[in-house]
Amino acid sequence: MAASARGRLWRRLWRRPPAVVGAVVVLFFVVLAVGAPWIATFDPQRSDYGKIRKAPTAANPFGTDDLGRDTFSRVVWGTRVSMQAGVFSILLAIAIGVPAGLMAGSQRGAIDQLIMRLTDAWLAFPFLILAIGLVTIMGASLTNATVAIGLAATPTYIRLTRGLVLSTQEEDYVQAARALGAGGLRTILRHILPNIASALLVQATVSIPAAIIAEAILSFLGLGVQPPTPSWGTMLATAQQYLETAPWMSWWPGLAIFSLTLSFNLAGDGLRDLLDPKDY
């Protein structure tokens, strides 16, 4: 049975080539992020004043920047920053949002009202403006940008989790568990949480690329990663000053963000189809 189920999973996957391509590209970026020290050909922070703003060559396939640093190596190391910011901020959002949503959905009453009114208000701040406001309070750095993006993404998870809990609670198997005497916490952890996990996972594939773009924007504005640490956002901010003399500086970091977010979206779409039981 297990083997045939796995076979079915593969068949369903192969019917969605864009999703497979997306997943492969995301994996490729994970490899870049983890293997940055071995893949990068130069020290991303070392300046070579003999090679300032040189067009792509065999030694520097993506060219060099305004301080003579190798753009390829900086893009590779930038992957690590982007992945870190994207994944950790959403993990933070899940760590706060899911318990809060579980609480709101299962307790109802005053706690529910309190959590949901806070969530409504929090959601009224445009995502980016909230993140900018938080960075203003905490100070500009990669860690603070990650925390700010995570906090800005939290209400989405509170709302989603609460909604899922409310609909799952009506299911027969949850009612049965209750009737058999399972306590509130046990019902939530053993019966509700495993059943809403896939929806949360799908949401994460949407939020992570959004968080990656948000980090790039904050760094682009100077509110995230500080130089000389390589990040795609700061690289683009510098590149904008040299569009006439060194256009290649602006191609690669942007192309990296674009392909990573596009792949996440493709893989996420595929995952949603795959996990959607209606499709059976």
């Binding site: 701040f125 445009p126 504005l221 100077g222 683009l236 674009f258």
Partner: protein, 320 residues
């Protein structure tokens, strides 16, 4: 109906109250003497004493909040540390520029998304549908600031078609204004167009399979009449809702777009305020943006329920 309206307005008021609490608390969390935070590092003793007295900074926190919110409700959000101008006045001067930018980008987004969405729903599962979906997915994934930089690179630096940056007020020269606003408006509208196109396509597909549409087809009405007279109007309702929810993204997007194209609007104002540690200005801008968002969505919800109280899309599609 009346009950819905009252409830919706009440929730908005509670939301606005919580927003004001969050903003008030946020500023108090900035390390250091609150009077210094509000007055800036170069404020003298008299200036600090004035701020302390105005906001009652020696009073208990709840009283401080009441003082602050009653000033805010009367339109006094303090003054900018850098320019010593009132925050409300500073914002009011910058806002028309951003509203023009947002309005233009909305027009561009609608002009792309609605025809593409309707077309792609009507020609579902054809090459055109696939193509429209691929373009919309790219629009969703492309970082707007990179799109902006690439447009500058090709249209301004390479082809010299459009000026790369700068701003000319609309009343000075509408043409020069449009030349400089068209690229930022396109960049800001691209993401929105992608979201709207998906939504238009989905709701059109849902509507086109509804019973009353099938009736229209079977009456022998021409394809175009069915799509535009019957399906289109109802298909647009969820699109309007999404539009309201997307105003937040539009305001956030304006920050980056104005930065890239050096448009002296609201978005550039907030970035400058953050860099110069102009806390009263940041506070004012954040408070105004969030309140505007709540207000716009209240209007969207109200207009939506007023315009079409009866047709429920889910019910229609479900055949009920």
């Amino acid at each position: 109906m009346a009950e819905f309206l009252v409830r919706r307005v009440a929730i908005s008021i509670v939301t606005l109250f919580v927003i004001s609490l969050i903003v008030f608390t946020g500023v108090r969390m900035i390390p250091g003497d609150p009077a210094r935070v509000m007055g800036g590092t170069d404020a003298d003793a008299a200036g600090l004493a004035e701020i302390r007295q105005k906001y009652g900074l020696d009073d208990p926190i709840p009283l401080q909040y009441l003082r602050w919110i009653s000033l805010a409700l009367r339109g006094d959000l303090g003054e900018s540390i850098r320019t010593r101008e009132s925050v409300v006045w500073t914002v009011a001067r910058k806002l028309p520029i951003t509203i023009e930018l947002a309005g233009l980008s909305l027009l561009i987004a609608l002009a792309i998304a609605i025809p593409a969405g309707v077309f792609s729903a009507a020609r579902r599962n054809t090459v055109w549908d696939l193509l429209a979906n691929a373009v919309s997915l790219c629009g969703l994934s492309v970082p707007s600031f990179w799109l902006g930089i690439m447009l500058i690179l090709f249209l301004s630096v390479r082809l010299h078609w459009l000026p790369a940056s700068g701003f000319v007020p609309l009343w000075e020269s509408p043409l020069a204004n449009l030349q400089r606003m068209i690229m930022p408006a396109f960049v800001l509208g691209a993401g929105l167009a992608a979201v709207l196109m998906r939504q238009t396509r989905n709701s059109m597909i849902e509507i086109l399979s509804a019973d009353y549409i099938r009736t229209a087809w079977s009456k022998g009405l021409a394809g175009r009449a069915v799509i535009f007279r019957h399906a289109f109007r109802n298909g647009l309702i969820p699109v309007v809702t999404i539009l309201g929810l997307q105003t937040g993204a539009l305001m956030g997007g304006a920050v980056v777009t104005e930065q890239i194209f050096v448009v002296p609007g609201f978005g550039r104002l907030i970035v400058e305020a953050v860099f110069t540690r102009d806390y009263p200005l940041v506070q004012g801008v954040v408070l105004i943006t969030a309140s505007a968002y709540v207000f716009i969505n209240l209007l969207v919800d109200l207009s939506y329920s007023l315009l079409n109280p009866r047709i429920r899309i889910g019910g229609a599609a479900g055949g009920g």
